[in-house]
Amino acid sequence: MTHSSVSHPTETSSAWLKVAVQVGLLGGVIVVSIALQGMIQAFSVRDIVSQLLTMSQMLVLLTFFAMGLVAAMRVPTRAPAPILIASLIAGFLTSALLVALIALGQVLPLGNMFINATAQLYNLLTFNAGLVTGSIILLVAGLGLGLLAGVVFLAPPLLRRAILITLIWVIALGVLQDLIRVTFTDWVFLQPVLQFFYTSTGLSPIGTVVLIVLLMVSNLLWNRYRAPARARLEQLPPQTRKTLRWGALGLGVVIMLALPSLLGLYLSEVLDNVGLYLLMGLGLNIVVGFAGLLDLGYVAFFAIGAYTAGVLTSPELSTGIIPNWWLALPIAVLMAAAFGVILGIPVLKMRGDYLAIVTLGFGEIIRLLALSDFLKPWVGGAQGIQRIAKPDLPFVQINWSPQVFYYFFLAGCLLVIFVSYRLKNSRLGRAWMAMREDEDVAQAMGINLVATKLSAFGMGALFGGLSGAIFAAKLESIYPHSFNFLISINVLSLIIIGGMGSIPGVVVGALALVGLPELLREFAEFRYLIYGAVLVIMMLTRPEGLFPEARRRMELEEFREEEKAEEEIVPA
């Protein structure tokens, strides 16, 4: 991925052709996979541009365009003609493989094997215009969009940027239509604007055109005036800048506090979920991000927190002696932390892969125990625990809705973010990071590995326990099935996407991986498929994450240099 192709004058003529064919075939495989995964059917119900373009059509067309762009980027020459031809070939081959799938589907009973290879799929793929006509449209679209991608690639950088950003914005505004319309329903003065841009099923055609023009113009203006604006901001007296910064911060706080009433019930529920995963992510971030210990059984501590809160407060169990959730909370949190340390002891000497699989084993053991008849008298077995206490406060009647729980999660997250920042810059935090970079050197520098590792496990588990206790309070009932391996993977993915060890990264990761799929119901079905692909692509192209932490990025850059050196020694 990182190799920049160097052009060799003697072989360019065949090299760019090879690249074009490779990219085209890859694109074909991707688009056929998308079709066979059922994304076409799932996404066809949503219009991007009302009555004109559905989300599934956009996805297919976008693949053609993207493959043309990739081909143009990878061609080992800068001459315009080969670039244009290469992107054309790539786009065309991509569409050709899709047409081949449609043709194959007419001859062979593919539907027996691939559940999504139905007549409906072929009709959708061919724009409901008949198989032959539709296939011809597809091939022409592949050719045209591939060529268009080549043209865009050859455009002046500023224009190219503006076009691509406009494209992304239009797609985002189209895909997120429900969110935008639902969010602003109560804002009367915005209604005319919304009605201009959106119909009941998607962007309105005229709105789309206006939107494209607006976005292009604003983007070009932004590029033109961004640098002067920033320079002027920096010339302001320090006092004014400070006021501005505090003002921005204050605005942020007001928005955060007002969010649930602005967004309504459903989106508050989504935010609660984000908050829950954010709490867990921050906890796992200590173990994986700060200390570099890959824990795949993090769900265990979440479960222990939830179960402790449940066991102590549910009147259904003989142990449910504490009626108040707030009294059970410290016990739940400490219990999780204690388990973190206890489970940390056996893995003290393990590194990397072994640690990952053993912690995974721990997570599964906890779940199996919670599920078993063996512990049923104490933790409820497969029926789980019901009637867990709510975090009621004295003297105040609280109506527990998702909106109220939002503040709960907000407080929890802010507290944990604060603690994380303090920990990160503390002596202990620096010891964790030293250990992450090199255990042996850290030990030689006088860091007590045992205490440092155990404190990382304990601290991470503590946050996990906290989120578990809140989870139990929110749902009022917990079942062993809620604590499966997928939760660990969810949490791990979000901190990796955000950037391991980076606290803003965890926030971004939680919003992107937990928030987005909830907003896009059609995507929810493909959630784990996309997570898996994103993890792999992320590790291949940007292992430091979206919002990398400075030190971690340095470590990974070191590896890139080493990699280059190694490649020279061991010829590929």
Binding site: S33, L36, Q37, G38, N112, F114, I115, N116, L294, I345, P346, V347, L348, K349, M350, R351, G352, D353, Y354, A356, I357, V358, L360, G361, F362, I365, L368, L371, S372, D373, F374, G446, N448, V450, A451, F485, I489, S493, M500, F526, Y528, L529, Y531, G532, A533, V534, L535, V536, M538, M539, L540, P543, F559, E563, E566, E567, I569, V570, P571, A572
Partner: protein
């Protein structure tokens, strides 16, 4: 400072030994009480042991894939469980077709061979693609990076196959010839278990001979020993790595069909638990060690099959079979604590553990 460190290390070590000793004592007490109470007769024990060996043979075949790759790349191919799943899941459609048309009952040998061939091919292709796309670019990356890639790839493959073939459990056809039992006095063995045991044994023998005697096998061992030196000796390291993934994939594909024949069902999640168990088996035998993986697989299969009846039942645990998987995980943890080099592993340098 150093003194204190040493004291603490010893404290944790002592703690672990106490826990380990406790578990061993529980196992012994449980087994003794079961045996004294005489809850099960010798025929039941025999059935459990044979089932354990057959299951262990399958684990061993999967474990070989982990061990071979680990021996050469020093990484756990987390997605190996999905390599194992992909073959039999795809071959189901062939098996179903053959079963429906009656071909499988008339020509069971040819039919089975076709199913094996398809399953092994698919698994091998998936394994090679994994290596090429996900692992090769990261060969010199920090350890966490390829590991996370492998986890991501594993998830991707699981849900990719779910999307392709659907989320439902698919039932493998029964083969008439394999339904019966072989009677040995008062004992009996299912034919299917005989098939599984023989097939697994043959493949393991073949692999062993291949690695020990063939030119490529020697090259594989050389690369496992030292990649850079092997490259200097004129061995194409990339090619050997691809061959390793091919072997692991083919064995996993074969193991998958055996698994599907024994348990009669496949779905997209079928790889997860056998994958972890096989990894346990590989660690048990000493990861990177080929005969160790075979031994570890058999051992784990038998322990898992006997365990619930033998020691959990004796401890009066209700529904002990629910904790069958917990036994395997506990065993994994215990081995890693007390003998991280495994049964046959001779040396496990710090950098590998």
């Amino acid at each position: 400072m150093l003194q204190r460190l040493r004291e603490r290390l010893e404290l944790t070590d002592v703690l672990m030994f106490i826990v380990g000793g406790l578990i061993v004592a529980l196992v012994i007490v449980g087994s003794a009480s079961t045996l004294i109470a005489g809850k099960y007769n010798s025929r039941q024990w025999f059935d459990l042991i044979v089932f354990g060996i057959a299951l262990g043979g399958i684990y061993a075949l999967i474990a070989l894939g982990y061990t071979l790759v680990y021996g050469i790349l020093r990484m756990i191919n987390f997605a190996h469980s999905e390599v194992f799943m992909s073959g039999p899941f795809t071959a189901y459609f062939l098996a179903d077709e053959l079963g429906r048309s009656g071909f499988l009952d008339q020509n069971p040998v040819i039919g089975l061979l076709l199913i094996f061939l398809l399953s092994m091919t698919v698994s091998t292709v998936i394994a090679i693609l994994l290596e090429r796309i996900a692992y090769r670019p990261l060969r010199y990356a920090p350890r966490l990076v390829p590991l996370i890639t492998a986890i991501g790839a594993s998830f991707f493959l699981q849900y990719f196959f779910k999307g392709l073939y659907g989320p439902n459990i698919k039932v493998y056809p029964e083969i008439a010839v394999l339904k019966g039992y072989l009677h040995l006095g008062e004992f009996r063995i299912q034919y299917i278990q005989i098939l599984v045991i023989i097939a697994a044994a043959l493949m393991m023998l073949g692999l062993h001979l291949f690695i020990q005697n063939s030119r490529i096998g020697k090259a594989m061992r050389a690369v496992a020993e030292d990649k850079a030196t092997a490259a200097l000796m004129g061995i194409d390291v990339d090619r050997i790595i691809v061959i390793t993934f091919t072997l692991g994939g083919a064995l996993a594909g074969a193991a998958g069909v055996l698994y599907a024949l024994m348990f009669k069902q496949v779905n997209f999640l079928m790889g997860f638990i056998p994958g972890i168990k096989a990894f346990t088996a590989a660690v048990l035998g000493g990861i990177g060690n080929v005969p160790g993986a075979m031994l570890g697989g058999l051992f784990l299969g038998v322990v898992e099959s006997l365990g619930p009846s033998l020691f959990l039942d004796g401890l009066n645990i209700p529904a002990p079979y629910q904790l069958k998987d917990a036994i395997a995980f506990t065993l994994l943890v215990l081995v890693l604590i007390f003998r991280p080099s495994g049964i046959l592993g001779e040396r496990l340098a710090e950098k590998k553990a």
